[in-house]
């Protein structure tokens, strides 16, 4: 197991002090003061993904949300919970676990990662396939904009279409539009049983055969993961196999058992050679899988998304650039994480932007460098250049939420 956060250049950032307000009101006061003085503010949660995006552009203060760590309301029978944004994911799930409920977010370093940080980084994990994305669980949000104004969107009920859906807008906004202070989440009952199965296709076309078959079968996995490269084969997977597909089922005992049996039949039908590898995998594997993106040692960590059926065609290009690249794909959704072992000798702009990013776009997808590791010259194009929302539209939204550009200046797409 490696470090609990991605390779970081955070320490190089020009932060004079880190403030830790005790509540949302105090936090809003800090931002209002910073707005008046045009001081840059760098919001921080558990600091597990603090180096996402571009480096900071000017000196400022760090603003930690970790003092906002209260559970506000937990009406378990309504299956919702309202918490402050600095609550750590592990603590949240401990509270929910007492009522046999959970938020099914698979995020590395859950003991540190805060709810607000997870939403701001839109960090979706393996169970997004069967349980929905971060945005699908978020039903209410309170936040502070770049003027220090507190606002909210949504509410505390599971269905609500009053006003603009700020819950969605703030997902993935990386603290550049507003600082989230409180959220209401939909929770779900803990399943009776969970089960993982590991399958080892010999090639990407064979992997695609199984992935496509899973989409056309009544089987209902909660996660479908495609792993590639020796470093991605977390224990107890066989590190000598080039690829592995991991399928997770949750539900009643009988449902999980039936699904595992069905998958085994499917694998036999497709003539995938399991050799002597065990078909089912112990559940603690799940934790190791979730920690994959946060392990140390990668020169570059990149994140991308493609239509799922395009993955098998795209991935050879990645291994062409870096044969030692480790891959974790939430293959049912087409989301993937690449841990490149080295910076391409031909340079980032040629290998990453001009080649891989262009390939991803050609497949209707995106690929961006997630972190800004020391020694890598990341640019706006390499870090955010995969999306299709016009820059001027995003900039116009940013101006309305943060007119003095004090929230995370320089770190996001906007200048």
């Amino acid at each position: 197991m490696g470090s609990t956060r991605l390779e970081s250049s955070f320490d190089q950032r020009p932060i004079s002090a880190t403030l830790r307000p005790a509540d949302a009101r105090e936090l809003a006061g800090v931002v209002a003061g910073a707005f008046g003085e045009a001081t840059a503010v760098y919001p921080m949660g558990g600091e597990t993904s603090i180096d996402f995006g571009l480096p900071a552009s000017r000196p400022g203060v760090g603003l930690s949300t970790t003092g906002l760590d209260r559970v506000i309301d937990y009406p378990a029978r309504d299956m919702t919970i309202t918490v402050e944004s600095g609550v750590r994911l592990a603590d949240l799930n401990a509270v929910l676990g007492a009522e046999r409920q959970e938020v099914p977010w698979d995020v590395p370093a859950a003991a540190l990662a805060t709810v607000g940080g997870i939403i701001a980084t839109n960090f979706n994990g393996a169970r997004r396939y069967g349980c929905g994305a971060i945005r699908d669980h978020l039903i209410g949000v309170t936040a502070v904009d770049g003027r220090g104004v507190t606002f909210h969107g949504g509410g505390r009920v599971v269905k609500n279409v009053a006003g603009y859906d700020f819950c969605k807008l703030l997902c993935g906004s990386l603290g550049t539009l507003a600082i989230i202070t409180q959220v209401t989440l939909k929770v779900r009952p803990l399943p009776e049983k969970r089960g993982w199965a590991a399958v080892y296709p010999d090639s990407l076309p064979q992997a695609e055969e199984l992935l496509a078959a899973l989409e056309h079968d009544p089987i209902t996995p909660t996660a479908i993961e495609l792993l590639g490269g020796r470093e991605a084969m977390v224990a107890p997977l066989d590190p000598d196999r080039p690829l592995a597909i991991l399928v997770m089922f949750e539900g009643m005992d009988c449902e999980v058992d039936w699904s595992l049996g069905r998958l085994r039949e499917m694998v036999g039908r497709l003539r995938i050679r399991q050799l002597d590898a065990p078909f089912t995998v112990p559940h603690d594997f799940h934790e190791r899988l979730v920690e994959f993106p946060a392990r140390g040692g990668a020169a570059i960590v990149a994140r991308g998304c493609l239509p799922p059926g395009q993955l098998a065609g795209f991935l050879p290009k990645v291994w062409q650039v870096d044969p030692d690249c480790a891959l974790q794909a939430h293959a049912g959704n087409g989301l993937f994480m690449l841990r490149m072992a080295r910076i391409p000798s031909t340079g980032l702009s040629r290998s990453f932007v001009a080649f891989l990013q262009a390939e991803a776009r050609a497949h209707h997808g995106s690929l961006v460098i997630l972190s800004n590791p020391a020694g890598v010259e990341v640019t706006r194009q390499s870090t955010f250049g995969g999306g299709n929302a016009p820059y001027h539209v995003l900039e116009s939204v940013k101006r309305q939420f943060d007119p003095a550009n004090i929230l995370n200046p320089g770190r996001f797409l906007y200048p």
């Binding site: 599971v158 269905k159 006003g163 859906d165 089987i219 449902e255 955010f384 299709n388 016009p390 539209v393």
Partner: protein, 479 residues
Amino acid sequence: MPQNLPTTLVPELLRIVGVEGVLAARADLMVYECDGFVIEKNSPDVVVFPTCTEQVARVVRCCRDAGVPFVPRGAGTSLAGGCLPVGGGVMIVLTRMKQILEINTRDRYAVVQPGVVNIWLTQALRGTGLHYAPDPSSQGACTIGGNVATNSGGPHTLKYGVTVNHVLGVECVLPDGEIVCLGGPVDESPGCDLVGAMVGSEGTLAIVTKIWVRLTKNPQGYRTMLGVFDSVDDATNAISAIIGHGIVPAALEMLDQGIIVALEAAFQFGFPLDASAVLLIEVDGLEVGLDAQQQQIVELCRQQGAREVRLARDAAERARLWKCRKQAFGAIGRLSPSYCTQDGVVPRTQLPHILRRITEIGNRHRIRIVNVFHAGDGNIHPILLFDERDPEQVQRVLQASNEILEDCLACGGSVTGEHGIGVEKIGFMRRMFTADSLDVMARFRSALNPDNQLSPGKMLPTAAGCGLEMKGSHRKAAV
């Protein structure tokens, strides 16, 4: 020729969409003066029917240059005045953009034009093992573009989520005429989620001209049940018991006696006319687990006093049950000349309370109220029956509606779960949101729609006012 428009506008619109694509005669425009919310009406000055994105963009640019307000419209089935042409102007009706452009079963998405009727997509998917999950009761008429504008729900959203959970991307025309794409056939794009914010924006940010929607696997099996109760309290307690037990049915709907009687008269399904309430409960998923779930639900209903739990015998009976549920609003014509449907939401555990309050409020205002709603989500639809020819009754309906929605807010709920704010509930926005929140919403709108020329007078309040109100006398209300 419309009186309120610059003289050059209509000829210009005719050049863009042709003579077949423009309505400007007074009699023709009457169809477009309201949606399903009939209490407030106003006619557009002209209606255009573009057939492609480029035409929409040209019409928008034309309106922008002329300084004329414009508003998009789908099938007009919305229930809160979302496509009411406040202040007149140009109405852009998207029902001729009705092609399903692509169906990709491997990656489980479809690309549709906004005028595609919701059910057409599921019909087109027959045989693929997939369907489009959001299924509003009006799915036989409403368009997917309209569903995106209002973030529509439906009975099966309890398990599968509302429209926003199924929209991957949109192509839209901004109020300055620029065509932009947000998202696409992928689950995620870098940066903030503008697609999510666009859904439910009630046509106030942009006009959606193409939609990438997620398709959902058909479940292997269903179990559909009808729980029959002698009291509304018992039925609502059963809902709490089912949800509280950790069961998430695919749908959990409640119908009270008033609506049962109307449905039975219309469809002769065999509903028990003496029941105070019935619950329509459906679980779906893997066959292997369905009998156990069904048994658990039957047991919980019995524990809460159900006198009987009937099971749909086969697919045909299930289909008939859902037909009855989805056409419930049509059956109301048997009860009253006019009706007004509310759309409040309460935490699910507050359902027994809110239903008692609805009865009490109806009695006090001498308005008969029947209920058919998405109980599993806590999304109530009290239907207030009245005669719109009697202005005094209209006032009582508005007053009773106000009180019901006030009570939803007092329970920690919302005044709209799936119909939208439109013009009907603008007055409630100040009750639901602080002035600061409304200011931030207005700022967000101005990022995309700076002159508020697109869909003016919608969603966000501009002046003081509270609750549901009858608007100024210059507009003809349904009285």
